[in-house]
């Protein structure tokens, strides 16, 4: 069997769906952050596969991966800081308990 672009796209779609499913059912803020990372990494696989297998004029897909990894790291840094603040304020990291605003 030859591993082609389809296999990579299926893996990335599966990762993306697992991440989305996790965000919807997980209640722990850390798990939600991990699921977001999963979704962002699915995108990186997609970009790398397209860039490698298709006749592309340049390496723009791989450049995009570099930026997307950097942005994901920044997002997680801010996210972790905010989770610590939430823990300090509410003494919990369960997202269902964060319901002081309604309407």
């Amino acid at each position: 069997m030859i591993i082609g672009i389809t296999h990579f796209l299926i893996i990335s779609a599966a990762l993306f769906c697992i991440g989305l499913y996790g965000i919807l059912i997980k209640r722990n803020l850390f798990s939600i952050l991990m699921c977001i990372e999963l979704m962002l990494n699915a995108v990186n696989i997609n970009l790398a596969a397209f860039n490698y297998f298709l006749p592309m004029p340049d390496l723009s897909g791989q450049v995009m991966i570099l930026f997307s990894v950097a942005v994901a790291a920044a997002e997680v840094a801010v996210g972790l800081a905010l989770i610590f603040r939430v823990y300090r304020d509410f003494r919990t990291v369960n997202i269902d308990k964060l319901n002081s605003m309604k309407g």
């Binding site: 965000i23 977001i36 979704m39 905010l82 939430v86």
Partner: protein, 473 residues
């Protein structure tokens, strides 16, 4: 390399970095107001200098088609500069009360740099970087009130929904990249496979992620909580800058990249616009907190701007630009008053506004003018803006949409005037409110501009016309 075209972004980024350094050099007992005034001075000079950048000749692309420096981008850059200048003006007193003062200013400036990059983006890479620079700065800004539980809750909700939409958008971008073999908007526009399944899925993902950022109704659930919990100056900038930036890049994507698909998409967009106007206005009526009411009303305002995008004509684009400008002015006035009231009454409910006309007639007047402008009552600029939008929609055959918009703006008068009634009729313990001179400047700018552009809209429409003409070419 031509660095000259990104001088606004470079100036703002360097200023943001310098402010944090100045903060370390200042003795700790000094106030940090000087940082705010420095930022104000530099940003005002920058905004004025951009007037000389408008050009009639064809606009050039820069950095291998990644960056487009046309009148449309310049107009939006000035708009964001104005929003940040007004925000800094009325947040000087708030900034005195928080612990990390210089960081607050530099976060505002980084968000501004992100918005300015977004306005010129002509490539999905540029757009992604601008969008993330803006959004990540806003995550941090939303959580800036260290002693307020609501602020951290708002920030974490914004972060989760925001990064979810980022992931969806990136996935869409990667699918588009797979079919068009490029990130450039012009390459995507000329892509022969634009109606392949992969490409359609990608377009849908990008557009729904943009709906998240603009808080269009089915994707709006983060915005009321985030607006309520965030510190009031940050809420103001979220409502003004972040929404205008999302609209600017959404129009660019729709008209520059997905133009072949726009004919099929615009009827769907008109449904979203109608749902947005109806839902936003009806939800706003039920609110007891004015900050939350303004959040829902900003959802409705996004709906009005979508009406102009649906028209997809010169008139429509012009209407959107005009409306975005006066929307920023009106919101700046309303949120400036909200900041003062929150400072004195420690709350933003309707009863906190009782008797405001007694304790501070100027504040009550500015609030009334701003809200009337949002509702679109004739002497204010909001009327002219809505007139342009709905006329463009009718010319393009969306009579029903203009009708929905008209009915909904009449309904919106109800909850806007409820605030005015509370301010002018109810009298409860009048407190002595004194207004700082910087805040007075901000509210006077917003009120005068709202009234003057309402009476003489032609002066602003010269500028919006210039921007819209080069945008559509």
């Amino acid at each position: 390399m031509n660095l000259y075209v990104i001088y606004p972004e470079i100036t703002v980024s360097i200023l943001a970095l310098l402010l944090t350094v100045f903060d370390l050099l200042l003795p700790s007992r000094e106030t940090r107001r000087s940082l705010g005034y420095t930022a104000l001075l530099v940003l005002s000079v920058l905004a004025a200098s951009l007037f000389w950048q408008y050009h009639i000749t064809a606009s050039p692309y820069f950095y291998q088609n990644m960056f487009y420096y046309d009148n449309y981008a310049i107009f939006f850059k000035q708009l964001f500069l104005l929003a940040v200048i007004l925000t800094i003006l009325f947040s000087l007193r708030y900034t005195e009360s928080i612990k990390y003062k210089s960081e607050f200013y530099s976060m505002l400036l980084f968000a501004l740099a992100g918005m300015m990059i977004l306005a010129s983006a002509n490539d999905f890479l540029t757009m992604f970087i601008g969008l993330e620079l803006m959004t990540i700065s806003f995550y941090a800004l939303t959580g800036f009130s260290m002693n307020d539980k609501k602020s951290s809750e708002a920030a974490i909700k914004y972060l989760i929904i925001g990064s979810l939409s980022t992931a969806v958008m990136l996935y869409g971008i990667s699918l588009i990249y797979g079919t068009a073999h490029s990130f450039s908007f012009s390459a995507i526009n000329g892509n022969p496979d634009i109606f392949s399944l992969l490409s359609i899925a990608g377009m849908m993902m990008i557009i729904s992620a943009m709906f998240f950022k603009m808080s269009v109704i089915p994707f709006h659930m983060w915005s009321p909580d985030t607006y309520e919990g965030a510190p009031t100056p940050v809420t103001a900038l979220l409502a003004m800058g972040s929404k205008a930036a999302a609209i600017s890049v959404f129009m660019r994507i729709l008209f520059a990249a997905f133009w072949p698909a726009a004919d099929y998409f615009l009827p769907i967009l008109s449904v979203f616009a109608a749902v947005c106007m109806i839902g936003g206005n009806i939800a706003a009526m039920r609110q007891k907190n004015i900050k939350r009411m303004l959040a829902y009303s900003s959802i409705a305002q996004a709906g009005y701007m979508l009406v102009g995008i649906c028209a997809a004509s010169l008139q429509g684009i012009k209407g959107v630009l005009f409306y975005a400008f006066l929307y920023i002015l009106a919101n700046a006035g309303a949120f400036a008053v909200l900041t003062v009231v929150e400072f004195y009454k420690k709350g933003t409910n309707y009863d906190d506004f009782a008797g405001l006309s007694q304790s501070s007639p100027l504040l009550a007047m500015v609030m009334a003018v701003s809200l009337l402008s949002m509702a679109g009552i004739p002497p204010t600029a909001g009327f002219a803006g809505k007139l342009y939008l709905f006329m463009a929609a009718v010319e393009h055959g969306y009579l029903w949409l203009a009708f929905v918009g008209f009915i909904m703006s009449m309904l919106s008068v109800y909850y806007y005037l409820k605030v005015v009634r509370v301010m002018y009729s109810d009298i409860l313990d009048p407190v002595n409110i004194n207004i700082s001179s910087s805040l007075r400047t901000a509210i006077l700018i917003s009120m005068t501009a709202t009234v003057l552009f309402g009476i003489w809209p032609q002066y602003l429409s010269v500028l919006t016309n210039l921007a819209a003409v080069t945008f559509l070419k």
